[in-house]
């Protein structure tokens, strides 16, 4: 694990996410910036068995962005990884684009599951992980859910099934950025203690600083070592919504989907350069 490189890649993910959303002028910035570090770790930390030249490779590790609105951060990651040309990022949400705001497996190379209606992606990831178990191909299935998303009942249906099916090949991340569209998660519908919740649902739970690439990478290593434990993994990422861009970080309660002026785009890219 090359910590400096992962930090650099995380910065590049943020840069290209802000560049793409800035070109459009509006987007789900807060929740994209909060997951840049985990995406860097997964895609550039040597954890995933994937091939950008063969995105549908049999037996590959898979990733489900259950909080589908963070598509732009995933697209920046996939472009940097070589799944498609970097200039595609400038087509974000333009007519006929292959990069829609919410992840679409039928449009974007490297996207393993469609998501956008919250709570469904983690269930799909459970199905994928079960599929891998049936085929015995030893793949690892990764999934990111949001903390606001965890208010969906389906997240808990999926979590019960993950434990019941003994999916120790499933690694779920909770992006605990503490804000949702309407404000603070704790004020709207608190998750109270997510560690205790997922432990009681039968997961191996770790909680790390979601912006510390070394800590995230170590947690992923631990999760992979837990294969054979018969328990799925939950890695709770303590994150800041809008991390890395000062004017976005300053407004966590309203940065879920925000406008970006040309001046703001320039400022963001300067901060991330």
């Amino acid at each position: 694990m090359d910590k400096n490189n992962l930090e650099l890649k995380a910065k590049e993910i943020r840069y290209h996410t802000m560049d793409a959303i800035g070109t459009l002028g509006v987007g789900h910035i807060g929740g994209c910036l909060s997951v840049a570090d985990v995406l860097s770790v997964l895609y550039f930390g040597g954890h995933m068995n994937i091939d950008p030249k063969n995105p549908k490779m049999e037996g590959r590790d898979r990733f489900v962005m259950s909080k589908g609105h963070a598509g732009p951060a995933l697209y920046a990651t996939l472009a940097l990884k070589g799944f498609f040309p970097m200039d595609w990022l400038q087509t974000l949400n333009q007519p006929e684009t292959l990069l829609p705001s919410h992840c679409d497996m039928n449009r974007t190379p490297g996207v393993d599951m469609t998501a956008g209606s919250l709570g469904q992606g983690i269930s799909c990831a459970v199905g994928i992980a079960k599929g891998s178990k049936i085929k015995k191909d030893n793949a690892t299935i990764y999934c990111i859910i949001g903390d606001g998303e965890a208010q969906e009942g389906q997240v808990w249906e999926a979590s019960m099934a993950a434990a019941q099916f003994k999916l120790d090949n499933l690694v779920v991340f909770l992006d605990l950025n503490k804000y949702q569209i309407g404000g603070a998660v704790d004020e709207i519908m608190s998750l109270l203690d997510p560690v205790a919740k997922w432990e009681s649902f039968g997961f191996n739970v770790q909680k790390v600083d979601g912006h510390d690439v070394a800590a995230i990478s170590a947690a992923v290593d631990n999760a992979k070592k837990a294969k054979g434990s018969n328990k799925p993994s939950m890695i709770i990422l303590d994150t800041v919504k809008g991390k890395g861009v000062s004017f976005v970080e300053a407004t966590p309660a309203t940065n879920h989907n925000m406008n970006v002026s040309a001046e703001q785009k320039a400022q963001a890219l300067k901060e991330l350069a």
Binding site: D104, M105, N106, D112, M113, T114, A115, G116, S117, G119, Q120, G121, S123, C124, A125, V126, G127, I128, A129, K130, G131, S132, K133, I134, K135, G153, Q154, E157, A158, M160, A161, Q164, F165
Partner: protein
Amino acid sequence: MKEMRAIFASRLAEWMRKDERIAVVDADLARANGTMGLREEFPERALDVGVAEQNMASVAAGLASYGFIPFISSFTPFASRRICDQLAISVCYAKQNVKIVGSDPGISAEYNGGTHMSVEDIGVLRSLPNLMIFEPVDAIQLEQGVDAVIAHDGPVYIRMFRKALENLYPDDYKLDLFKADCLKPGLDVAIFASGIMVREALKAADLLAAEGINAEVINVHTIKPLDEETILASAKKCGCVVAAENHNIIGGLGSAVAELLSGTYPVPVKRVGIQDHFGEVAKMPYLMEKYKMTAGDIVAAAKAAIQAK
């Protein structure tokens, strides 16, 4: 005479033996839908997510993305309105090859009553792009239907009567999922029927014949995509139409037929079915009388349609 659910499960078992892609995901209704027995033989591929239909649908989509062909099953209301969004996004929008089995359609839910009596499932699902809707009328059509929906690459909703039914089709019948079946040719009025109403339509045709009215009866087993060619030709030949279904007259077969004809060949369309109300506990014969879904009601509708020509 075997129950439809037993026919379904044994056909599925045959497929699971020869095709490792076939899987089943239940939501605690395996006993009701006949799929419980599959677990012994296929412990890895016959799953149960518990009472969590939404999870059932999305888990199946995940399995489908991994190359499986999962069948999910529940009672019709929970296989449609309860999981509408999961079917829309995880399955249809994501183009995942999931087969959805809804059992006990409409008034066939009998003693389970209003909560379980789907008057709306076709209406809910018919507006989802990429989804096929198939309602077999007997064991022969169901068996061939299982084969056909597996051969069809894409999501299909099978609206399955659960209990035993006399066979309507001969053994040498050949199902074409995309082609409605003309069961009795006629000239005076076209009766398009689905599910349990096909038998009523045939009875109605006999009653009409006794009065000198020559009715055509067509089993529209696939409600989406609608066999527009057959329906249009029949409507043109007869000049008026009755649609009969075990579903709300809003949103189901009658609506589909009216939508087609209004834009192509407008002729009088009378709809027989549940008249926009919920169901209630009772046996089917009682409900068919009460809800005006008998052969006699189809006869009355046919006469009204002819009069409106």
